[in-house]
Protein backbone atom coordinates (compact mmCIF):
# COMPACT_ATOMS: atom_id res chain seq x y z
CA UNK A 1 0.00 0.00 0.00
CA UNK A 2 1.50 3.35 -0.98
CA UNK A 3 1.80 6.23 1.46
CA UNK A 4 -1.54 8.02 1.08
CA UNK A 5 -0.21 11.32 2.43
CA UNK A 6 -2.02 13.82 4.65
CA UNK A 7 -5.45 12.96 3.21
CA UNK A 8 -5.23 9.21 3.95
CA UNK A 9 -8.25 9.37 6.29
CA UNK A 10 -10.47 10.74 3.49
CA UNK A 11 -9.28 8.10 0.99
CA UNK A 12 -9.66 5.15 3.38
CA UNK A 13 -12.97 6.57 4.65
CA UNK A 14 -14.37 6.78 1.10
CA UNK A 15 -13.40 3.17 0.31
CA UNK A 16 -14.65 1.94 3.71
CA UNK A 17 -18.07 3.58 3.30
CA UNK A 18 -18.42 2.33 -0.29
CA UNK A 19 -17.58 -1.25 0.69
CA UNK A 20 -19.71 -1.25 3.86
CA UNK A 21 -22.78 0.09 1.99
CA UNK A 22 -22.39 -2.23 -1.02
CA UNK A 23 -21.48 -5.18 1.24
CA UNK A 24 -24.60 -4.64 3.37
CA UNK A 25 -26.71 -4.36 0.20
CA UNK A 26 -25.29 -7.65 -1.10
CA UNK A 27 -25.86 -9.37 2.25
CA UNK A 28 -29.46 -8.13 2.56
CA UNK A 29 -30.20 -9.15 -1.06
CA UNK A 30 -28.84 -12.68 -0.56
CA UNK A 31 -30.61 -13.14 2.82
CA UNK A 32 -33.96 -11.94 1.37
CA UNK A 33 -33.56 -14.24 -1.64
CA UNK A 34 -32.95 -17.28 0.55
CA UNK A 35 -35.79 -16.34 2.92
CA UNK A 36 -38.34 -16.13 0.10
CA UNK A 37 -37.08 -19.40 -1.44
CA UNK A 38 -37.42 -21.12 1.97
CA UNK A 39 -40.96 -19.76 2.47
CA UNK A 40 -41.99 -20.95 -0.99
CA UNK A 41 -40.63 -24.47 -0.38
CA UNK A 42 -42.40 -24.58 3.01
CA UNK A 43 -45.76 -23.59 1.48
CA UNK A 44 -45.38 -26.11 -1.35
CA UNK A 45 -44.50 -28.82 1.16
CA UNK A 46 -47.86 -28.14 2.83
CA UNK A 47 -49.48 -29.08 -0.47
CA UNK A 48 -50.45 -25.57 -1.51
CA UNK A 49 -49.92 -25.07 -5.22
CA UNK A 50 -50.24 -22.08 -7.52
CA UNK A 51 -53.47 -22.10 -9.56
CA UNK A 52 -51.50 -22.73 -12.75
CA UNK A 53 -49.87 -25.86 -11.27
CA UNK A 54 -52.62 -26.91 -8.88
CA UNK A 55 -54.51 -30.21 -9.25
CA UNK A 56 -58.29 -29.95 -9.69
CA UNK A 57 -60.25 -29.77 -6.43
CA UNK A 58 -60.92 -33.11 -4.75
CA UNK A 59 -64.58 -34.31 -4.61
CA UNK A 60 -64.78 -33.69 -0.83
CA UNK A 61 -63.78 -30.05 -1.26
CA UNK A 62 -66.21 -29.71 -4.20
CA UNK A 63 -69.04 -31.10 -2.06
CA UNK A 64 -68.15 -28.69 0.73
CA UNK A 65 -68.34 -25.76 -1.67
CA UNK A 66 -71.71 -26.91 -3.06
CA UNK A 67 -73.15 -27.74 0.35
CA UNK A 68 -71.95 -24.59 2.07
CA UNK A 69 -74.80 -22.32 3.34
CA UNK A 70 -74.15 -19.35 1.04
CA UNK A 71 -73.94 -21.68 -1.97
CA UNK A 72 -77.25 -23.38 -1.12
CA UNK A 73 -78.94 -20.05 -0.55
CA UNK A 74 -77.66 -18.76 -3.87
CA UNK A 75 -78.92 -21.89 -5.65
CA UNK A 76 -82.42 -21.54 -4.12
CA UNK A 77 -82.69 -17.84 -4.89
CA UNK A 78 -84.86 -17.14 -7.96
CA UNK A 79 -83.35 -14.93 -10.60
CA UNK A 80 -84.67 -11.42 -10.18
CA UNK A 81 -86.49 -9.79 -13.06
CA UNK A 82 -85.10 -6.60 -14.38
CA UNK A 83 -87.78 -4.22 -15.50
CA UNK A 84 -87.24 -2.23 -18.60
CA UNK A 85 -87.25 1.47 -17.90
CA UNK A 86 -90.27 3.31 -19.29
CA UNK A 87 -89.49 5.45 -22.23
Amino acid sequence: MPDLGPHAAFIIGAYAIAFVVLGMLTLITVVNDRKQARMLIELERKGIRRRSTAKPLTPSVKTKIIKSKPARAAAKRKPTRVRKPRT
Binding site: P2, G5, I11, A14, Y15, L25, L40, R49, V61
Partner: protein
Protein backbone atom coordinates in the same frame (compact mmCIF):
# COMPACT_ATOMS: atom_id res chain seq x y z
CA UNK B 1 -36.17 -11.23 -24.59
CA UNK B 2 -39.68 -12.50 -25.33
CA UNK B 3 -38.86 -15.98 -23.99
CA UNK B 4 -37.58 -14.32 -20.78
CA UNK B 5 -41.02 -12.80 -20.26
CA UNK B 6 -41.84 -16.14 -18.67
CA UNK B 7 -40.80 -15.76 -14.98
CA UNK B 8 -40.02 -19.50 -14.61
CA UNK B 9 -37.63 -19.38 -17.57
CA UNK B 10 -36.12 -16.19 -16.14
CA UNK B 11 -35.56 -17.89 -12.76
CA UNK B 12 -33.74 -20.78 -14.48
CA UNK B 13 -31.50 -18.31 -16.30
CA UNK B 14 -30.71 -16.43 -13.06
CA UNK B 15 -29.79 -19.69 -11.33
CA UNK B 16 -27.29 -20.49 -14.10
CA UNK B 17 -25.78 -17.00 -14.43
CA UNK B 18 -25.40 -15.90 -10.78
CA UNK B 19 -22.35 -18.04 -9.79
CA UNK B 20 -20.40 -16.89 -12.88
CA UNK B 21 -21.34 -13.26 -12.27
CA UNK B 22 -20.29 -13.50 -8.62
CA UNK B 23 -16.88 -14.85 -9.70
CA UNK B 24 -16.54 -12.04 -12.27
CA UNK B 25 -17.31 -9.40 -9.61
CA UNK B 26 -14.65 -10.81 -7.26
CA UNK B 27 -12.00 -10.92 -10.03
CA UNK B 28 -12.79 -7.42 -11.35
CA UNK B 29 -12.98 -5.90 -7.88
CA UNK B 30 -9.68 -7.48 -6.82
CA UNK B 31 -7.95 -6.30 -10.00
CA UNK B 32 -9.50 -2.85 -9.72
CA UNK B 33 -8.38 -2.38 -6.11
CA UNK B 34 -4.87 -3.56 -6.96
CA UNK B 35 -4.65 -1.09 -9.87
CA UNK B 36 -6.19 1.72 -7.78
CA UNK B 37 -3.77 1.40 -4.86
CA UNK B 38 -0.57 -0.11 -6.29
CA UNK B 39 -0.38 0.81 -9.98
CA UNK B 40 -2.19 4.15 -10.37
CA UNK B 41 0.15 7.15 -9.90
CA UNK B 42 -0.95 10.17 -7.85
CA UNK B 43 -2.45 13.05 -9.84
CA UNK B 44 -0.18 16.04 -10.45
CA UNK B 45 -2.76 18.43 -8.94
CA UNK B 46 -4.91 16.33 -6.61
CA UNK B 47 -2.17 14.05 -5.32
CA UNK B 48 -3.26 10.82 -3.62
CA UNK B 49 -6.89 11.93 -3.23
CA UNK B 50 -7.43 11.05 -6.91
CA UNK B 51 -7.79 7.43 -5.69
CA UNK B 52 -11.25 8.38 -4.38
CA UNK B 53 -12.24 8.77 -8.05
CA UNK B 54 -12.10 4.98 -8.49
CA UNK B 55 -15.12 4.48 -6.21
CA UNK B 56 -16.83 7.84 -6.62
CA UNK B 57 -17.12 7.97 -10.42
CA UNK B 58 -18.28 4.34 -11.00
CA UNK B 59 -20.84 4.77 -8.19
CA UNK B 60 -22.14 7.97 -9.83
CA UNK B 61 -22.33 6.29 -13.27
CA UNK B 62 -24.22 3.34 -11.81
CA UNK B 63 -26.54 5.69 -9.88
CA UNK B 64 -27.61 7.29 -13.16
CA UNK B 65 -27.54 4.05 -15.17
CA UNK B 66 -29.76 2.35 -12.63
CA UNK B 67 -32.37 5.10 -12.96
CA UNK B 68 -32.26 4.65 -16.74
CA UNK B 69 -32.97 0.94 -16.22
CA UNK B 70 -35.97 1.90 -14.05
CA UNK B 71 -37.20 4.39 -16.68
CA UNK B 72 -36.97 1.76 -19.47
CA UNK B 73 -38.73 -0.75 -17.20
CA UNK B 74 -41.41 1.89 -16.57
CA UNK B 75 -42.02 2.05 -20.33
CA UNK B 76 -42.23 -1.75 -20.29
CA UNK B 77 -44.86 -1.57 -17.54
CA UNK B 78 -47.00 1.16 -19.08
CA UNK B 79 -46.74 0.40 -22.82
CA UNK B 80 -45.89 -3.27 -23.33
CA UNK B 81 -47.14 -4.57 -19.94
CA UNK B 82 -44.15 -6.89 -19.81
CA UNK B 83 -44.66 -9.28 -16.84
CA UNK B 84 -41.14 -8.66 -15.54
CA UNK B 85 -40.97 -4.90 -16.13
CA UNK B 86 -42.28 -3.69 -12.76
CA UNK B 87 -40.33 -6.50 -11.05
CA UNK B 88 -37.15 -5.12 -12.69
CA UNK B 89 -37.97 -1.56 -11.69
CA UNK B 90 -38.82 -2.44 -8.08
CA UNK B 91 -35.66 -4.55 -7.73
CA UNK B 92 -33.42 -1.80 -9.13
CA UNK B 93 -34.56 1.04 -6.86
CA UNK B 94 -32.76 0.08 -3.60
CA UNK B 95 -29.58 -0.76 -5.54
CA UNK B 96 -29.69 2.62 -7.28
CA UNK B 97 -30.31 4.36 -3.94
CA UNK B 98 -27.19 2.68 -2.47
CA UNK B 99 -24.99 3.65 -5.44
CA UNK B 100 -26.28 7.25 -5.24
CA UNK B 101 -25.59 7.34 -1.51
CA UNK B 102 -22.03 6.06 -2.10
CA UNK B 103 -21.50 8.66 -4.85
CA UNK B 104 -22.73 11.47 -2.57
CA UNK B 105 -20.66 10.43 0.46
CA UNK B 106 -17.44 9.65 -1.41
CA UNK B 107 -17.83 12.89 -3.39
CA UNK B 108 -18.21 14.76 -0.13
CA UNK B 109 -15.07 13.09 1.27
CA UNK B 110 -13.21 14.03 -1.93
CA UNK B 111 -14.56 17.59 -1.80
CA UNK B 112 -13.27 18.41 1.69
CA UNK B 113 -9.52 18.17 0.89
CA UNK B 114 -9.94 19.58 -2.65
CA UNK B 115 -12.55 22.34 -2.24
CA UNK B 116 -12.25 22.90 1.51
CA UNK B 117 -15.89 21.91 2.10
CA UNK B 118 -17.95 18.70 2.30
CA UNK B 119 -20.97 20.16 0.54
CA UNK B 120 -22.03 23.06 -1.68
CA UNK B 121 -25.47 23.59 -3.17
CA UNK B 122 -24.14 23.54 -6.71
CA UNK B 123 -26.03 22.12 -9.71
CA UNK B 124 -24.28 18.72 -9.93
CA UNK B 125 -24.40 17.96 -6.20
CA UNK B 126 -27.98 19.16 -5.80
CA UNK B 127 -29.24 17.20 -8.82
CA UNK B 128 -27.55 14.06 -7.43
CA UNK B 129 -29.29 14.66 -4.10
CA UNK B 130 -32.60 14.98 -5.99
CA UNK B 131 -31.83 11.62 -7.65
CA UNK B 132 -31.32 10.05 -4.20
CA UNK B 133 -34.66 11.50 -3.01
CA UNK B 134 -36.35 10.15 -6.17
CA UNK B 135 -35.06 6.67 -5.35
CA UNK B 136 -36.38 6.97 -1.78
CA UNK B 137 -39.73 8.19 -3.17
CA UNK B 138 -39.97 5.16 -5.49
CA UNK B 139 -39.16 2.75 -2.65
CA UNK B 140 -41.75 4.45 -0.41
CA UNK B 141 -44.39 4.27 -3.18
CA UNK B 142 -43.87 0.52 -3.63
CA UNK B 143 -44.13 0.03 0.12
CA UNK B 144 -47.27 2.17 0.41
CA UNK B 145 -49.41 0.35 -2.23
CA UNK B 146 -50.06 -3.30 -1.42
CA UNK B 147 -51.29 -4.52 -4.82
CA UNK B 148 -48.15 -5.00 -7.00
CA UNK B 149 -49.86 -4.08 -10.29
CA UNK B 150 -51.16 -0.72 -9.04
CA UNK B 151 -47.88 0.04 -7.25
CA UNK B 152 -45.95 -0.76 -10.44
CA UNK B 153 -48.03 1.61 -12.58
CA UNK B 154 -47.84 4.47 -10.05
CA UNK B 155 -44.07 4.01 -9.66
CA UNK B 156 -43.65 3.85 -13.46
CA UNK B 157 -45.21 7.30 -13.83
CA UNK B 158 -42.99 8.72 -11.07
CA UNK B 159 -39.91 7.10 -12.68
CA UNK B 160 -40.66 8.57 -16.11
CA UNK B 161 -41.15 12.03 -14.61
CA UNK B 162 -37.97 11.62 -12.54
CA UNK B 163 -35.95 10.54 -15.59
CA UNK B 164 -35.86 14.22 -16.61
CA UNK B 165 -33.26 14.58 -13.83
CA UNK B 166 -30.72 12.32 -15.62
CA UNK B 167 -29.77 14.74 -18.45
CA UNK B 168 -29.85 17.55 -15.87
CA UNK B 169 -27.20 15.70 -13.80
CA UNK B 170 -25.10 14.92 -16.87
CA UNK B 171 -25.12 18.42 -18.36
CA UNK B 172 -25.36 20.45 -15.13
CA UNK B 173 -21.60 21.08 -15.22
CA UNK B 174 -21.93 22.58 -18.73
CA UNK B 175 -25.16 24.52 -18.22
CA UNK B 176 -24.26 26.20 -14.91
CA UNK B 177 -21.14 27.45 -13.16
CA UNK B 178 -20.33 24.69 -10.72
CA UNK B 179 -17.54 23.79 -8.34
CA UNK B 180 -17.67 20.22 -9.70
CA UNK B 181 -15.23 19.21 -12.46
CA UNK B 182 -16.65 19.14 -16.01
CA UNK B 183 -16.97 15.78 -17.78
CA UNK B 184 -13.51 14.29 -18.32
CA UNK B 185 -14.28 10.73 -19.51
CA UNK B 186 -17.56 10.68 -21.47
CA UNK B 187 -16.69 13.54 -23.86
CA UNK B 188 -17.18 14.00 -27.60
CA UNK B 189 -13.43 14.55 -28.13
CA UNK B 190 -12.39 11.57 -25.96
CA UNK B 191 -11.27 11.32 -22.34
CA UNK B 192 -8.98 14.03 -20.97
CA UNK B 193 -7.56 11.74 -18.25
CA UNK B 194 -4.18 10.03 -18.58
CA UNK B 195 -4.44 6.29 -19.45
CA UNK B 196 -2.55 5.45 -16.23
CA UNK B 197 -5.55 6.80 -14.29
CA UNK B 198 -8.16 5.76 -16.85
CA UNK B 199 -7.40 2.01 -16.78
CA UNK B 200 -8.10 1.51 -13.04
CA UNK B 201 -11.20 3.68 -13.42
CA UNK B 202 -12.60 1.48 -16.21
CA UNK B 203 -11.77 -1.74 -14.34
CA UNK B 204 -13.53 -0.46 -11.19
CA UNK B 205 -16.47 0.73 -13.33
CA UNK B 206 -16.70 -2.77 -14.87
CA UNK B 207 -16.60 -4.30 -11.36
CA UNK B 208 -19.40 -2.00 -10.13
CA UNK B 209 -21.45 -2.69 -13.28
CA UNK B 210 -21.06 -6.46 -12.81
CA UNK B 211 -22.06 -6.06 -9.15
CA UNK B 212 -25.13 -4.11 -10.23
CA UNK B 213 -26.19 -6.81 -12.71
CA UNK B 214 -25.62 -9.53 -10.09
CA UNK B 215 -27.61 -7.72 -7.38
CA UNK B 216 -30.35 -6.78 -9.82
CA UNK B 217 -30.84 -10.36 -10.99
CA UNK B 218 -30.88 -11.61 -7.39
CA UNK B 219 -33.34 -8.91 -6.32
CA UNK B 220 -35.59 -9.68 -9.30
CA UNK B 221 -35.59 -13.38 -8.36
CA UNK B 222 -36.45 -12.43 -4.76
CA UNK B 223 -39.36 -10.27 -5.96
CA UNK B 224 -40.75 -13.04 -8.20
CA UNK B 225 -40.51 -15.52 -5.30
CA UNK B 226 -42.16 -12.97 -2.95
CA UNK B 227 -45.11 -12.65 -5.33
CA UNK B 228 -45.44 -16.43 -5.57
CA UNK B 229 -45.34 -16.74 -1.77
CA UNK B 230 -48.04 -14.04 -1.53
CA UNK B 231 -50.22 -15.89 -4.06
CA UNK B 232 -49.78 -19.18 -2.19
CA UNK B 233 -50.60 -17.55 1.15
CA UNK B 234 -53.82 -16.19 -0.39
CA UNK B 235 -54.65 -19.68 -1.70
CA UNK B 236 -53.96 -21.07 1.79
CA UNK B 237 -56.43 -18.57 3.30
CA UNK B 238 -59.05 -19.46 0.66
CA UNK B 239 -58.65 -23.16 1.45
CA UNK B 240 -58.96 -22.45 5.18
CA UNK B 241 -62.19 -20.45 4.58
CA UNK B 242 -63.65 -23.25 2.42
CA UNK B 243 -62.72 -25.88 4.98
CA UNK B 244 -64.41 -23.84 7.73
CA UNK B 245 -67.60 -23.24 5.68
Amino acid sequence: MISLANPTRFLNLVGAVVPWLAALVVILLGTGLYLAFFVSPPDYQQGETVRIMYVHVPAAWLAMGCFLVIAIAALGTLIWRHPLADVAAKAAAPIGACFTFVALVTGSLWGKPMWGTYWVWDARLTSMLVLFLLYLGLIALWQAIEEPGRAGRAAAILALVGAINIPIIKFSVNWWNTLHLPASVLRVDGPSIDPALLTPLFVMAAAFAALFVLLHLLAMRTEILRRRVRALQQTQVEHAVLAGA
